[in-house]
């Protein structure tokens, strides 16, 4: 579903992503761990087609992000660290607008249902999103992924800044989406969440995949040790 083949990106001679090979299947949650500057966000930008690779290729559901970025994006839902919405619109209006842009029209009842599935309190749906907490905005992002029936979900530090309860709630939603066959790539610093939510964990260092592990094979403590070992290496 999400695939990168020898994907490479350089900025002024500095290699941000270095011949990265990834293959994330439907239903998989792939957590991409790595320190700041490791190339996590660049990888996501390459998969979104916001950056052109210098070498290699990236595909979403078979569509090349370079040759046909629009078609590739049609299969993607993207949830950044802060889901940005239009503050003069309500939650349901934002969802309506974004899902229409994503090619899916829904009735108001359906939109309210989607927001409810994403865990947004019913009373909040008709409130202007200017009053929303970060967690509520992330839920609108999840509702959008549901609304557009995305086949792949790209998450960039999605739980950063969320309180533990909101973070846990978000994890449950992710697992639900994965259970529906969505391929998920999550860039994060959060080892705990990565261990909890992901089916596979990749450690990215200097744009290269330094390790790729099945989550079932490692415990929390092992992950931390493994991560630090890679950092020191």
């Amino acid at each position: 579903m999400l695939e990168t083949i020898k994907l490479t990106k350089r900025f002024n001679g500095h290699v941000a992503v270095n011949e990265l090979n990834l293959a994330i299947q439907p239903g998989e949650v792939f957590a991409l761990l790595g320190p700041n500057g490791a190339g996590k966000t660049t990888t996501i930008n390459l998969l979104l087609g916001f950056l052109a690779p210098d070498a290699g290729e990236a595909r979403v559901n078979g569509a090349s992000v370079v040759d046909d970025p629009i078609a590739a994006r049609r299969h993607i839902a993207y949830i950044p660290e802060q889901v940005m919405l239009y503050p003069r619109f309500t939650g349901v209006e934002n969802l309506d607008y974004f899902s229409t842009l994503g090619g899916r029209r829904h009735t108001r009842g359906e939109l309210l249902g989607l927001l409810q599935r994403a865990g947004l309190p019913a009373e909040a749906a008709d409130r202007h999103v200017g009053t929303y907490s970060k967690g509520m905005r992330q839920k609108v992002g999840i509702a959008l992924a549901l609304a557009t029936e995305a086949k792949a979900l790209l998450l960039d530090e999605p739980t950063s800044g969320l309180d533990p309860a909101a973070s846990h709630e978000f994890s449950l939603l992710l697992r639900k989406l994965a259970g529906q066959g969505v391929a998920i790539l999550m860039a994060t610093h959060d080892l705990f969440r990565a261990r909890e939510d992901a089916t596979r964990i990749g450690i990215l260092l200097d744009g290269k995949l330094a390790g790729d592990y099945a989550t079932n094979d490692i415990k929390h403590l092992d992950l931390e040790k493994l991560y630090l070992k890679h950092l020191r290496a």
């Binding site: 950044p80 940005m84 974004f98």
Partner: protein, 472 residues
């Protein structure tokens, strides 16, 4: 997709309280400007009508006198105020409204409304036209500077583009939505203009409705160009603040700098003589002939000899008519040639200056719009010239009738006899048919072309910039 984006932009703008306040201020200002101009046109027309009636009475009741003295007594004629002066007063405040017609002289229009204005006038007169030309672009800037740059800064652009929206569709949707906001805003102004025109006595004269429709088209082109430029700047600017700063500089260059520079450029490239120099040159040409080698006295002496020869007489007193009247006719004919030459050259030069300023509009669209707007409203120089020519023609006809009467008046010797009211009544009051809509459209064509080129260029630039829209 484009419609969904347009709808969202429309709602977002309406829900922005700051924009609503700015919009109300602009609409109220334009409405007040229209109302005041409507009252002013009504007042000026009433004053002109009363003055014309009084003038006619004075002419008819001037008593018995020599017909040439009546030609010197003269008459005043008044320039009709075009109906669309309620929208754009153009040059009206700066060119005269009244012409004094008398023997031997072609006078320029006098009594400039600007002369009666207070010192505040130097800050400009607010008409619906100036409001639309200067304030509405400012409103477009405020409406659009953050349309793309602001979304980029907030991160919503990234969110939108991640959904597979084509950047060109996004830009077009925004342009459509913001264009609709502007249209909704200006609709009351358009309706108010139409009502004001309909309520103006004779408001439908001279193809006013057709002209108003063209004016609507000209302003739509102008605002469409401004909208496209603003969106293009917002698309490429790194931040909304940078977009705003750039657009404000562009606005000032277009609204403040360009008109001054355009005027200065025209005067430098195509200078016009000072009034005193112009009148001195014309007086000299009347005395010495257009070639400078045909003194008037010599020409008239030759004319007398030719006349005597033609009638087979040796003395002027033997002619079967008053030779003094014939000399007056000949003198007017010769002076008319000089006036046509000098005024023709001056007016051609002024029209050339206007054309130069209009084409300078390729650098600042306001110059093109002003030219088209004045031409369509009937308040530009070509239409003032049309009136001046008509007034001069009336002067020549009226002086000719009086001189012919003098020529045929053999009583009273050299100075002729005395004429009375029966002769004064033979001279009709001045009647003026303003230029047709076709004339106005011809005059407006360069300005409309400038606006069309601007709109086409700005939209092409926007469509070229759109695919390069960066989410970060």
């Amino acid at each position: 997709m484009i419609l969904a984006i347009a709808r969202k932009e429309f709602l977002d703008a309406w829900r922005d309280g700051r924009f609503r306040i700015a919009a109300v201020v602009v609409v109220v200002l334009l409405g007040v400007a229209l109302l005041l101009a409507w009252q002013q046109v009504q007042r000026t027309r009433a004053e002109h009508a009363a003055a014309a009636t009084l003038e006619r009475e004075n002419w008819l009741n001037q008593g018995e006198k020599n017909s040439h003295s009546a030609a010197h007594y003269g008459v005043y004629v008044f320039k009709p105020v075009p109906p669309l002066a309620i929208f754009d007063r153009g040059l009206e405040p700066f060119v005269g409204t009244t012409v004094y017609l008398e023997a031997h002289r072609q006078n320029q229009a006098a009594f400039l409304p600007a002369q009666d204005a207070t010192a505040m006038r130097r800050f400009g007169e607010l008409t619906a036209a100036t409001g639309l030309q200067l304030l509405t672009p400012l409103l477009v800037v405020l409406l659009t500077f953050g349309a793309l740059a602001g979304e980029r800064e907030r991160g919503t652009l990234r969110q939108v583009l991640s959904l597979g929206v084509r950047p060109r569709d996004l830009v077009l949707g925004k342009a459509l939505g913001l264009g609709l906001v502007l249209a909704a805003l200006l609709l009351p102004v358009a309706l108010f203009s139409a009502v004001a025109l309909a309520q103006l006595p004779g408001g439908d004269a001279g193809g006013s409705w057709v002209r108003l429709a063209w004016l609507g088209g000209a302003y739509a082109l102008y605002l469409a160009a401004i909208l496209a430029v603003c969106l293009a700047v917002s698309a490429v600017a790194s931040t909304a603040r940078a977009a705003l700063a750039t657009l404000l500089v562009c606005w000032a260059a277009n609204a403040v700098l360009a008109p001054r520079l355009g005027g200065d450029l025209a005067q430098r490239v195509l200078p016009t003589p000072k009034l005193a120099e112009f009148e001195a040159a014309m007086h000299k040409a009347v005395q010495e002939g257009l070639d400078g080698h045909s003194p008037r006295q010599q020409q008239l002496q030759e004319f007398a000899q030719e006349t005597l020869k033609k009638h087979g007489k040796t003395r002027l007193e033997e002619l079967p008519f008053n030779f003094n009247g014939l000399v007056m006719l000949e003198s007017e004919r010769l002076a008319g040639k000089v006036f046509d030459h000098h005024f023709g050259r001056l007016w051609d030069r002024l029209e050339s200056q206007d054309r130069l300023v209009t084409w300078a509009g390729l650098a600042a669209p306001l110059l093109g719009l002003r030219s088209a707007s004045m031409a369509l409203a009937g308040t530009d120089f070509t239409q003032h010239r049309h009136f001046s020519v008509a007034a001069e023609q009336h002067r020549r006809d009226f002086v000719r009738v009086l001189n012919e009467d003098l020529m045929n008046s053999t009583a009273g010797g050299h100075h002729g006899g005395v004429a009375d009211r029966s002769l004064w009544e033979k001279l009709p009051a001045f009647r003026y048919d303003p230029p047709t809509t076709a004339h106005a459209l011809r005059a407006a064509t360069p300005g409309l072309m400038v606006l069309f080129l601007w709109a086409a260029g700005a939209w092409t630039a926007l469509l070229l910039v759109a695919p390069r829209l960066k989410p970060n």
